[in-house]
Symmetry: C2
Subunit: 211 residues, 2 copies
C-alpha cells in the first residue's frame, strides 16, 4: 500500500469529523492508543433520508455483533458499507450515541458534555441535518457485553489495542460522520483520539470492476 | 374496571392502525389468539421529529429486554411510554419492522408483502410522515433469542398465550401506530389479529395527579 503518513486524519478526543466517501472507497478507522470508541453514522449522498440502520443490519446478519464480511445496510435495505478487515471483532450496534441528556443521567457529577450525539450533529449540520437525524450509530470498538438470558447489558473497556483498525468499503456514495468517544464508561475513562484515512476509488478496487 | 367490550379495537392480520394517546392514557395491547407480534412506534404529538428510540431506552434500562416498570424513551431522552403491566415478559427492541425488501430477501418464494413497515407507514402517512420516519419499533411479544457470546440471534415463536396483554401508560401526548405482524417467522407462520383498547385520562390516573 502506497499510503503516505500525511493522509492520516486525527479526530481529537471528545470531538467528531465529517467525511465523504464514493462508492468503492476504503475507509480505515484506527484506534491509535487502544481502548477508544468511535461512533459512525452514514447517509446516502444522493438522498439524505436514507441512513445507516442497525435494525436492518442486525436482522440480515442474524447477529448482534458485526465483523469482517458483514454489510451495514440502510433503512431501505441497500448496502452502505462492508467490513473488509477487522483487527478487533467486537463493536456495538444497539446503543444511541451519548447525548447531553445522557451525560446528565449517567454522569451526574460531571459538567454535561454534548457527547458523540452533539459532535455528530455538529459534523452533519452543514448538510441540513440535525441531531434528530442521528440514528443508532455503528459504535466501532465499543464493547457491550450482553447476557442472553436476562438481556442485561454492561459497557466494558474496548478490546482494541493500540494501532488496531477496521476497514470499510463504501457500497454507495456516502456522507459519513465519525467521533472520538466522549463517554468515560465506553473508553475506560481515558479520552483519546481516533485516526482515519481514506483510500480513494482511483487506487481502491471498484465494485463494478469486479474488485 | 368499567371498560365495555365494544371499546376493544381489532387490527386485522397483516395490517396496522393509528391511534392517539394523551398523557396519562393507558393503552392495552392484547394477543387474542396467542403467538402473535405487534410492532409499535410512537411520536411526540407536539413535535413529530421526536420519536421512540430503542437505543436510548436500552441504554437507560441497561437491558435489551424491557418489561414491567421499564420506560420507553424518545431520541431526546424524554419518557414516552411506561410498561405498567406485562403478562409475557419478552419483547424485542432491536429489529426494524419487516419491509417489502426484507420479504424479498427472507421469504423469496412468497409474493412480497409490504410488511409491518409498510403498514406503519400507511398508518402515519396522514401525519405527513413516511416510511423513512419509521424507527426501530418496540416489537410487542416478539421473541428474539440472543446468544450473548457470539451475538447470534434467532426469531422464535412468541411466548404469548391467547388473551395475554401488555399495558402502557402514555408519559406524553403521542401519535402511535400498531400492527398485527405480517412475517411468518415472527408469529409461527400463523397470521392472527391484535386487539387493543385505550383507557382515557378521565378514568385513568394522571401522572400529574400522583397516580
Amino acid at each position: 500500500m502506497s499510503r503516505q503518513t500525511e493522509d492520516i486524519q486525527r479526530i481529537a478526543p471528545r470531538s467528531g469529523a465529517h467525511l465523504r466517501l464514493q462508492r468503492g472507497d476504503i475507509l480505515t478507522v484506527i484506534d491509535p492508543d487502544g481502548q477508544q470508541v468511535s461512533d459512525m453514522i452514514a447517509y446516502n449522498r444522493d438522498d439524505l433520508a436514507e441512513y445507516l440502520s442497525s435494525g436492518r443490519s442486525i436482522d440480515y446478519a442474524s447477529r448482534m455483533f458485526l465483523g469482517k464480511g458483514d454489510t451495514l445496510y440502510s433503512n431501505r435495505s441497500n448496502p452502505m458499507l462492508t467490513i473488509i478487515h477487522d483487527d478487533v471483532g467486537r463493536h456495538d450496534f444497539t446503543l444511541t450515541p451519548c447525548s447531553i441528556e445522557m451525560f446528565r443521567k449517567l454522569y451526574p457529577d460531571e459538567p454535561p458534555h454534548r457527547g458523540c450525539e452533539g459532535n455528530l450533529a455538529a459534523a452533519i449540520e452543514h448538510l441540513g441535518l440535525s441531531r434528530d437525524d442521528v440514528p443508532i450509530a455503528f459504535n466501532i470498538f465499543m464493547h457491550v457485553a450482553v447476557d442472553g438470558q436476562t438481556g442485561e447489558i454492561a459497557v466494558r473497556p474496548p478490546l482494541s489495542k493500540a494501532g488496531d483498525c477496521i476497514k470499510f468499503r463504501a457500497d454507495m456514495d456516502l456522507e459519513v460522520a465519525l467521533t472520538a468517544c466522549s463517554a468515560g464508561q465506553s473508553n475506560n475513562f481515558q479520552y483519546k483520539p481516533i485516526d482515519y484515512f481514506i483510500e480513494r476509488g482511483e487506487t481502491a478496487p471498484r465494485q463494478d470492476e469486479g474488485g
